[in-house]
Subunit: 269 residues, 4 copies
């Protein structure tokens, strides 16, 4: 469905998503399924979110053998590595990889901040080709560009800052709600890319209450509920995650239902 809608690539094994709930073997299964689904038409990136550097290198080797086109790389999970340790982790995994890497920065979720000057320091490693910026601070995008120009392709990783970010420098968007609303996501991206700002803003405003669902601790459950309500997924999650219940469920259902009621006819892009 996402491919038909026109997405330009897959990122699988989302780190904040259910990556951490899968065994090493299950992760490789997901990789294989995604590679098969892509039919080599669009690139597949696998998320590297392991607790040790050695485990990250091992994952990279196996996923490469299973056909991924690149990686989205995070700091080690659980331990809050400092600047020196984080950089060392990134460099070691890069050495173990033959594929290009997108570095993922999300200090809100992981409490490890890869700051613009760290990206500048890492610029000498050619495998680092892109950044997924999810600090929720759009100023970071131009701070990176001030330091290293267009050295990295910068992707915004926060759905509800997608338009702002692309207008001032981001060239891509690693989207969350795309799982339930692929056409709207692709259309919004294309409208902004082709500078049709008024149309983009109108669509963005309709989309925002849904896009807000991407920046919550429970975004996995929220997006799965949205997928189910648009008819393209299930709500199943692994414990300790549980399906939404009570007032929280009602609140999120009502947000999704309101948006569906006013779902716009999309402009051609």
């Amino acid at each position: 469905m996402q491919i038909e809608a026109g997405v330009h690539g897959f990122v699988v094994l989302g780190s904040l998503g259910e990556n951490g709930t899968l065994t090493p073997d299950e992760k490789q299964e997901v990789v294989k399924i995604a590679v098969a689904a892509s039919r080599r038409k669009i690139p597949v990136l696998a998320t590297v979110a392991e607790t040790t550097t050695a485990g990250a290198c091992k994952f990279v080797e196996k996923a490469t053998a299973n056909g991924v086109d690149g990686f989205m790389l995070l700091p080690g999970m659980q331990y809050l590595s400092d600047r020196r340790e984080t950089i060392q982790h990134f460099r070691t995994v890069a050495k173990a990889s033959t594929k290009p890497i997108m570095l993922y920065n999300n200090p809100v979720a992981y409490r490890i901040d890869t700051t613009p000057d760290m990206f500048a320091e890492l610029a000498d490693e050619p495998k680092f080709v892109a950044i997924k910026e999810s600090s929720e601070d759009v100023r970071r995008i131009n701070d990176i560009i001030k330091l290293v120009g267009d050295r990295y392709q910068i992707f915004i990783g926060v759905d509800d800052l997608a338009m702002e970010s692309q207008l001032i420098g981001a060239v891509g968007w690693v989207a969350g709600l795309v799982n339930a609303f692929p056409k709207e996501t692709v259309t919004l991206f294309e409208l902004i890319r082709t500078k049709r700002n008024a149309e983009a803003l109108e669509l963005y405003r309709w989309f925002l209450p849904l896009l807000h669902l991407d920046t919550s601790v429970k975004f996995v459950q929220y997006i799965k509920l949205a997928e189910m309500m648009v008819g393209c997924g299930t709500e199943y999650v692994r414990a300790p995650r549980m399906q939404l219940a009570g007032d929280e469920r009602k609140r999120v259902e009502s947000i999704i239902r309101s948006a569906l009621k006013k779902r716009p006819t999309l402009p051609k892009v």
Copy 2:
């Protein structure tokens, strides 16, 4: 060495420690070694810090088979479960266990807070016999006691609040610096337990700069450095953790060296 010093039990596989860097098989190896070292003279607790509830149950079963006497149980790692999910996780693991369980609360590190009223709600599960309180807020101890009296044995899990906590209600201490300073730790604990407060306070004040090392993101490296400096361990850590370097290393070495220079003769307890 810890047994000779008089510790009353072992807790292995510390969650903030290197638990997350071990494979399932390695964890069971650690369990076996600890059980053997205890020679059944003191109880061995194994830390349950898995990313899924199912994984936690599996760990519990294996560690029981390997001879542990009980568990220290955390919420699922990585995902920030809400109240309902956290309680469900605890109850499910309790069902899978035939051994008593100490619930571990550390919202500073894990951002999941098991509040006093949650402990009250969990009081109907007889396997939950103790609490390790590491919120860094000593008020919690009496808040729990106000709600459920002496239903739980409350252990303080924060080294540099050990004395305050025991003076106002905690009955035990899951210590960190005990790895490098077992005699001092046991002596301090016994002085407080037997109400020799003036002597305890004198020892505590000497000990505090070392005990502060327990409440840092880098406490694993700090305590391992202390172990090495007193001659009972190595500094080896798994990446992304790295051995201390530069100014940080100098600062911690200097704290440890200052304390060693004034190391007190311990009173009989």
Copy 3:
């Protein structure tokens, strides 16, 4: 100088600035000077940042008598009023005013958050005509618009989010660095307003290291240093504020000097 550069209005007695260091009489002196300087060509707004609601009403009455055209209104200073108290404060001051009011939201500095739904609730008071949004979260702008459409004129109050904010819905900018760089500020504003985005982005990127100075606890000293370095002000501050010294001074001087070295020729607007 600001008038020549084309600013559309004055806001005096900045709340985070030195408002709190002035006596009631001094504040009215500032109002009179600003009204005289404006020569009725541009409107003058006075900031209402008192510790009590009664004091705020008194200030409003005197400043109105002294000729201001409107007010920028904050919650009471020092006390962290809750939602009910904050709304009551705003409404009471509105009753005491015959002039239009811009509500100022800055939870970063004041720890009181006037959320989008509070602005919706306050929409029935016709004196509230505008909002200065300084939450540093640009998502707020569209959240307000989703709730109340164009009921309020939304101004961005954070210099280094000026461009993002105007591109997605803000219609004005209460600027900080305008004190030292009025022409650059006005040119940037006009370029964005007239959709000359590529030129705006080029100027914005040059400007950003300076605009970052606006979002610091020390922004008063930083901007005064910039004013001095461009030859239009002094560094004098009232204690406990002190003039910058040491490494911090060097760092800020270097930022300003670098920007001046590459100061661009401004496009016609």
Copy 4:
């Protein structure tokens, strides 16, 4: 009533209280009333919580003329002064004072932290005789003592850490609930001072739900409600503060009512 109950001193014009809502003249009225009420039997300290250093010096001069015995000194209000500015502020006010000064540290409320090493640096000013520690981190008490021994009399300023703090080094308590429960406060203090720990702990546990009211943003309204319910005060507050209402009022009333129902017979001290 407080004098009869045996308090050892008054501190008036509480900074987090209504200090900020009073005019300079009103503040001096409060000073005069307190000095008269004390009948020179107990010392009266006036809180210095002004927005400028100059204003703080002026307040000190007037309050001295009106008979206070000393001061409780805070950093300047509203502006978040840095280390250098905070120390300069303290020293300048000390120069303007002929009376001894208690330095008040409350980073939770004021976001300015006077750290133990700052107290060490300030130790050369003989007018600084005491510290009111309200960081909510009891470790600070021994950190200060480690640095400067008994150079300062350390008072705990957080009601619900009163017992812990005195047991490990604080010699005094600037109490909040003393306004409504003077006898309980004095009895608790004396029990701890005379090492009757078991009796102290029993009283403390009864008292804690009330003492928790001291560490809330709304503690002024909470304590005034308690005063009214025990029959020794009114609920009047100045806007933007409002009297408690709705669920919050019910919750606090219920806490106070529960405590009153089980009010203990106090041991002789």
